[in-house]
């Protein structure tokens, strides 16, 4: 980056074509950037880890324009073009950084031979167990062997024997015979997870990945090693043998574990989720995510899901339940306990409902210890959403004693509770008998059990929507699986209630419409924002005065509250 914040572009030549790339970018990234789907094959290189240069798969030919050593003058060929001094040996693309005039060959016979050689070497001691290997379908070795392998083996000696199917930690299984010793997992543990437990023991061909005896790879980021393992050496103990990856559909989503808003992919088939993996977003989570965030989908099929709209315990249609809820709310003396787990769109509707019913709005903060990486102190995905939509105008407290007082005094006679068990938050269970209770949530709890009206809501995997993360980044999540109970998206039911409250008629609505409304009604949002305009990378919102609120987050992987605030307050153009 140059001083004015723009990328310095330089010209290099890849396979005969001049291309513009950012200065200093390595050859693998440069080819990826301009290669139209072409890539320099590699195993050990990872954009978010230090360069190891050990796999030797990314060997390319490199040359620089020749200059006379004495005079510094360019040396020209017979056509007056500056000659290129090619290095006689191939060089690794991962550690070769673009400099002006650099020439790269990625397809020459020397390069092909190098790749074929590395492929043959990696296969001689590799077990031929692809049919029973869980990595099949996303194995770099399998892919490159098809492209660069000779198709038969010249190796007739005994293969090395190493430990198989060992427990590396509670969630990770290791097969050392498949390991190609790229050291990605070791570098990740050391450099990102700050948990230096993995290492290679023994030497040469006997080098073996292991954990120190008695220790385990058990940190909350252990499954990232599985993601970055280019072969089937590290596999997820949970996902092992559950499903071939090529049968799975991938849907972009956002992790709801904390306000970090880690970008994720949901892997599902026929309405069932099999795993969650991180999706690269350099502004949010790089390529990582927590292990705990990956397990959240298990709640989709849990026993305590709410599955039916009910009034007084009797099954109703969504229209009917909306009508009853609206009636309750119309009676006045309403309190709404909103949720920072709701999407921005849902929060917008709660705000609308609060306005038309004159409700007092409460929200509960859910904080824990941050891990300095991707689990922030605020354990909700969308507190900023509640602020941006105007559902709340200050930071919430951790309990609801003031609501309890309002109920006791009779000031509140109807409560709409979203996702919270208010009996655990300072509202004594016996108080709930004094009020009409509407509960909206995905799972049952002690509050839901005594509610007069129950509106089951969908989990993040089952609906579309947006969250606003710790750095006011508006991020979109998409429906990965349909609701198994045939429930409608929350915002549709809420739209019905809101319409009834304002005297309108319930109608089927879309997120495009919701966003049109939000963009025009909310001062905090740019008026040209639209549902379709929200890209996969998300959109950085201007927090305005909200940046001054004392949020709970401290510095983590991509967010530094002090620097963030300063950047927001700095005059434009500085």
């Amino acid at each position: 980056m140059s001083e004015n914040g723009t990328m310095d572009l330089i010209t290099i030549n890849i396979d005969g074509s001049d291309v513009q790339v950012p200065k200093g970018i390595n050859v693998i990234e440069a080819v990826k950037m301009v290669g139209k789907g072409k890539e320099v094959p590699h195993y050990c290189y990872h954009p978010k880890l230090s360069i190891a240069g050990n796999c030797r798969m990314c060997l390319v030919e490199m040359g620089m324009p020749m200059r006379d050593r004495a005079t510094g003058e360019p040396i020209l060929d017979e056509n007056g073009v500056q000659k290129i001094g090619w290095i006689p040996k191939p060089t690794i693309g991962c550690a070769t950084n673009a400099s002006p005039g650099m020439h790269i060959k990625t397809k020459s016979s020397m390069v092909q031979e190098s790749r074929n050689g590395v492929t043959e070497f990696l296969l001689i001691n590799h077990p031929l167990d692809c049919p029973i290997c869980d990595q099949a379908g996303e194995c770099r070795l399998q892919e490159f062997s098809a492209e660069h392998g000779r198709g038969y083996s010249r190796f007739i000696e005994e293969k090395n024997v190493k430990p198989k199917r060992t427990r590396l930690g509670p969630r990770v299984t290791l097969d050392d015979e498949r390991c190609i010793l790229c050291s990605r997992c070791i570098r990740f543990s050391k450099e990102i997870a700050d948990d230096d437990v993995l290492g290679f023991v023994d030497r040469g061909t006997y080098s073996t990945l292991t954990c120190y005896p008695g220790k385990e790879l058990e940190n909350n980021y252990s499954l990232n090693t599985v993601d970055i393992c280019p072969v089937g050496a590290l596999t997820s103990t949970d996902f092992r043998f559950k499903m071939r990856v090529w049968f799975l559909k991938r849907t972009n989503s956002i992790c709801t574990e904390s306000s970090v808003g880690t970008n994720t992919e949901i892997w599902s088939r026929e309405g069932k989720i099999y795993r969650i993996t991180p999706r690269r977003n350099d502004a949010v989570n790089d390529t990582w995510m927590t292990d705990s965030g990956r397990a959240l989908y298990k709640a989709v099929e849990s026993e305590d899901r709410l599955t039916h709209y009910t009034v007084g315990g009797v099954y109703k249609s969504s229209d009917e339940v909306a009508r009853v809820a609206a009636e309750c709310l119309k009676a006045g003396d309403v309190a709404i306990v909103g949720s920072a787990h709701s999407s921005v769109e849902e929060q917008f509707y709660y705000k609308t409902i609060a306005e038309s019913s004159g409700a007092k709005v409460f929200l509960v903060s859910h904080c824990g210890e941050g891990d300095g990486l991707l689990q922030s102190e605020d354990r909700t995905p969308n507190l900023r959403g509640a602020l941006v939509t105007g559902l709340i105008d200050q930071l919430p407290e951790a309990e609801l004693s003031s609501l309890a007082r309002d109920i006791s005094s009779g000031a509140v006679k109807t409560i709409l509770v979203v996702n919270e068990d208010i009996t655990a938050l300072g509202v004594a269970p016996e108080l709930l008998s004094k009020v009409k209770l509407i509960y909206v949530g995905s799972h049952t709890n002690d509050t839901a059990k005594v509610a007069d009206v129950v509106i089951p809501s969908l989990m993040v995997f089952e609906k579309d929507g947006t969250f606003i993360n710790q750095s006011f980044r508006l991020q979109k999540f998409k429906m990965a699986i349909p609701s198994s109970s045939g429930l409608e998206p929350d915002y549709r039911v809420l739209d019905k209630i809101a319409a009834l409250l304002s005297g309108g008629k319930p109608s089927a609505t879309t997120l495009d419409y919701v966003w049109q409304r939000m963009a025009s009604e909310l001062d905090t949002l740019d008026s040209d924002l639209s549902w379709r305009g929200i890209t996969d990378e998300g959109i950085a919102l201007d927090p305005g005065a909200l940046v001054e609120l004392p949020f709970a987050e401290t510095k983590n992987l991509k967010y530094d509250p002090v620097a963030f605030r300063e950047a927001q307050l700095a005059p434009v153009g500085a």
Binding site: G53, N54, A95, G117, L181, G204
Partner: protein
Amino acid sequence: MACRLLNFQKKNLTTMTHEETRLIMKYADEPGYTNDIDCYIKHGGYEDLKKAVTMKPEDICAEVMESGVRGRGGAGFPAGMKWKFLDRKSGKPIYLVCNADESEPGTFKDRQIIHKDPHQLIEGMMISAFAIQAKLAFIYIRGEFFQGYRILEKAIEEAREKNFLGDNILGSDYSCDIIVHRGAGAYICGEETGLIESLEGNRANPRIKPPYFPAALGLYQCPTIVNNVETLCDVKHIVAMGGKEFAGIGTQGNTGTRTWCVSGHVMKPGYYEFACSDITLGELIYDVCGGLKPGRKLKAVIPGGSSAKVLRADERFTGKLKDGTEFDWGIEDIPMDFDSLAAVGSMSGSGGVIIMDDSTDIVEALANINYFYAHESCGQCTPCREGVPWMRKITQRMVDGNAREEDAQLLNDIADQIAGRTICAFGEAAAWPVQSFIAKFKDEFVEKARDQAARRKEGIEPAKETTLI
């Protein structure tokens, strides 16, 4: 040849036809010469350090550059040039590391210096450290040199007491200490970035270059010079006589002396110091080392440590030297120096000359070498980790009685897939023996395969017990 400089010890060898030029080993084998500091000082020791600390550091560097001295560790890179590449502007501390990990099979010269004349090394190191303005110096000594380690520790204490190292050396404002750091049995620590990793407390995995050139990003990511024991001793003599005079020993581009370490099938194996180009390989074998064992004929020579390409006794070597001179040599005519050995397709390397007579089973010899490199591969990068042990398995199978005719070609293919594609020069070190043995003795590999195939067919056990593996 006449004695050119009084400073040399000329040693008459029994044949009287070839005199050693003893510069580094001048006193090493003199009766009564011991490794304690008083003896060293009595023989004029540390006078050159006294001179050096009154010089400007850059003037010493200039002398070293002018001397043309090339690294004695194996690669033969000009030491003055190496020093010139040192990043002096980083503001970071500079380190000097003496590579005393002498581990190239066939080489045993550094051991002699350490055991017999440790103060020469310390003096050379302190002069070098002053010249590059090193903050701290290390001697990385191979772990197997238990005694050498103790000798160096004692010598350093002696030198510290006399202020030849430590704070304000000899009253100057330059301070530098030496730490002796022991290896633990890893050939790869001879590779300078592997050595640095080892010194930092890691597995000795060599670093990728770029970006980790020691002169800029070496020990602790600081500018670092790594020099061989013998090279650092040369620096002392360069300061003593001046770079120009040093350059007068040997020939252009091949200056100073080399200590040739001769092992294998000769009557008098040992180390012999000659001015570069002063002697031919034939003279070394037959005149200096007493020739071969009775009734034996020369079969092959590995002239620069086991990674150097093998020379076949009945080869003709023709071509042009760097200066354009044409040559047409038999093996005995090859002058012992950097450029001549490079011109015949091998290298002078670390000076380890391994002689093999006609009793040698060439496949077994290669199997032995492959065993070594497979054992010593650090295992970091794919071609070396996988390829070298594969070559070992093949040659082991061949000596075990299951050789195939296609094995020679396969071995060569594997070596080709290693050389030039690894993180460090170990790839070449392991590939060159295979490539050269196959190129020069293919007939013996094929013959072994045929012989064994015939025996297998007849159900006869392998011909004889192996002797080299």
